[in-house]
Subunit: 400 residues, 2 copies
Amino acid sequence: MSKYAHLYSGIMKAAKPSKVNQIMAKQKPGAIHLSGGFPDPNYFPREEIKEIISYVMDNEAATALQYGNPAGYPKLIEHVVEIANSKNQKTKNENVMVVNGSTESFGLMCKAFVNPGDYIIVEEPTYSGAIMAFRGHGANMLPVPIDDQGVIPEEVEKVLAEKEKEGIQVKFMYILPNYQNPAGVSLSLERRKKLLEIAKKYNVLIYEDDAYIEFRYEGEELPTIKSLDEDGMVVYTTTFSKTLAPGVRIGWVIAEPELIKGLTAAKMATSLMSSPLNQALSAEFSIRGYLKNHVEKSKELYKKRKNYMLEALEKYMPEGVTWTKPQGGYFLWVTAPEHIDGEEMLKQVVEAGVSYRPGPSFYVDDTKGWNQARLCFTTVDEEAIDKGIKTIADVIKKLM
Amino acid sequence: MSKYAHLYSGIMKAAKPSKVNQIMAKQKPGAIHLSGGFPDPNYFPREEIKEIISYVMDNEAATALQYGNPAGYPKLIEHVVEIANSKNQKTKNENVMVVNGSTESFGLMCKAFVNPGDYIIVEEPTYSGAIMAFRGHGANMLPVPIDDQGVIPEEVEKVLAEKEKEGIQVKFMYILPNYQNPAGVSLSLERRKKLLEIAKKYNVLIYEDDAYIEFRYEGEELPTIKSLDEDGMVVYTTTFSKTLAPGVRIGWVIAEPELIKGLTAAKMATSLMSSPLNQALSAEFSIRGYLKNHVEKSKELYKKRKNYMLEALEKYMPEGVTWTKPQGGYFLWVTAPEHIDGEEMLKQVVEAGVSYRPGPSFYVDDTKGWNQARLCFTTVDEEAIDKGIKTIADVIKKLM
């Protein structure tokens, strides 16, 4: 027994080793990674970053290297206001808070709204990082199913009505509207409006996570739920992690000033502020138009890879395996027949030098989804995608 | 009443506006700031940062701009091991976790060890940012007095014995051994050893925050509590915020591997990882010897300013006002007669264009310490120090 056992928090004591991670830890170096949500590192904007850091050191070092405003670096806040308003999010400076990647906002939302044991709604499946953060704050997650149009509003309402009957106030619903992580599906316009109505009816916040919004490869852009909201019911978050680079760790939140004030107090108590240096870099990268160029180039590349992965799935996967056809984002979601031994599937794929992120990572009940896989099509090139999909398909065939 | 009131967490509901902040919000632009814990921005290592970012983009961009290991960037972890071992902290890679400034470690310690309502020991007075973070996790803080040798071990033991009698396990004691923030005092070697004995006896962790360790201006360096610990009872944290720049937001934690594992799980659920870019920058800045040079230059400057501030206090302060004489760090701690109207003192000083950080910020019970002030001697030059101290002294004289 650990000599520290008497000191751990309840949440720490409740944490159990993840079967998924135990299997994935056996990954060999040089594997083909379809598991992460990673941009292709070969295309990182190296020269632009050099240029901007040089500019920031010559012109803004006294503020960019110093402690700063917890809500964000003024230049970045102003620029975020422009980005947000270009999406009709009716945003002013006091509606913005900068975070260490949208991940940081998960915990801040809990600090501001969730007492241990409080209830929140999540999609099923939903983003694994959010599950981890919500669990780390003792939130009770109520999963609501999604289909190929995103989360099903009637199911959301059913859960809210039930909790209302029990006298329980659900705190927020965590919604991934565009190219959902992991499933790759997008929430229809009608459902976005419907969710807002429900939020208003039950007086519960919508926490809209839109990390992949800039990566639409086909179809028409839909309005964010935030931009449709007339009643201050939406807390919106997105990030530069996919558009500039994950290693910069800068994202932001848009919400009503009162909520931003509370979230900023929580932010101060968590990390004081996001790196002013990285905020200055992100702001300048976007202001100079480098962000737009970089996203355009990345989109071209990733769209090809997505189509290539879809073709490879067609080519290699046996009858009985299905997958989503995303209009954007980084991921698609593969479902093998339910009876398949998913643990064995993951073990054999890892053994063969390929990785995917298995279903259980995206379920609150992590015994579910072993026959499912999130595949990322952005990180590696077409040759690797081909080899990766063929490997997974071969393992599935063997196990079917 | 707020339309969101039914949604807030208990901690958010309990938060009350700070009188100190309300007064300090009236600060005019161009004021002389003796309030922060800020390095002098005129001396930030601009050219070195340009050079290093350029190097990192040419040689490590694929990892520095990507998602990375939650415990830290491998090159930085290895370098931190060297730093730690140069201080006899008996450290291997698995003893290290990187954080977003040591501030982030406050919350992670709570996530790992503190259930809302659990008890921890803090010094009185203690660092305001730590109070804020501990409060933000619902920790019950038990203040223990300090004197000019730092925290008083007998008082620590008294509190632990009392809680033991009540059947309560205190989770950790938060200790600032060197040039304490805010008081500027240092913990004697004997007391460091005594605290370790007490920690062992009561089976409670020492959480050692050593942000200012590199800034000793006189006297002999004392061993860190961590380096004296043979029983894995110390979690040590320090930061590059003072030695490189606050805006980079990189610090680290040293602890037993089991504890690092738990803290890293909490870290993943909080911010995934600290910026690999900033970690690469920090590592390279130190490896190249720029850190050592920069600290040497800063120390020379800050030592002069400390002495200058001490002289100004001698020169301007009326009888009845006392202050500490720190051997290092950023701060000294001024105590005016108890009967003085501290709120009025702060108001008038702010009105006169000077800032200090008043006592209540550093007390768990923030009605205490209004006659006290933390003064930072590193941020501004001698002329401003002179003017600042004279202004504060004039206000005190008027109010005495």
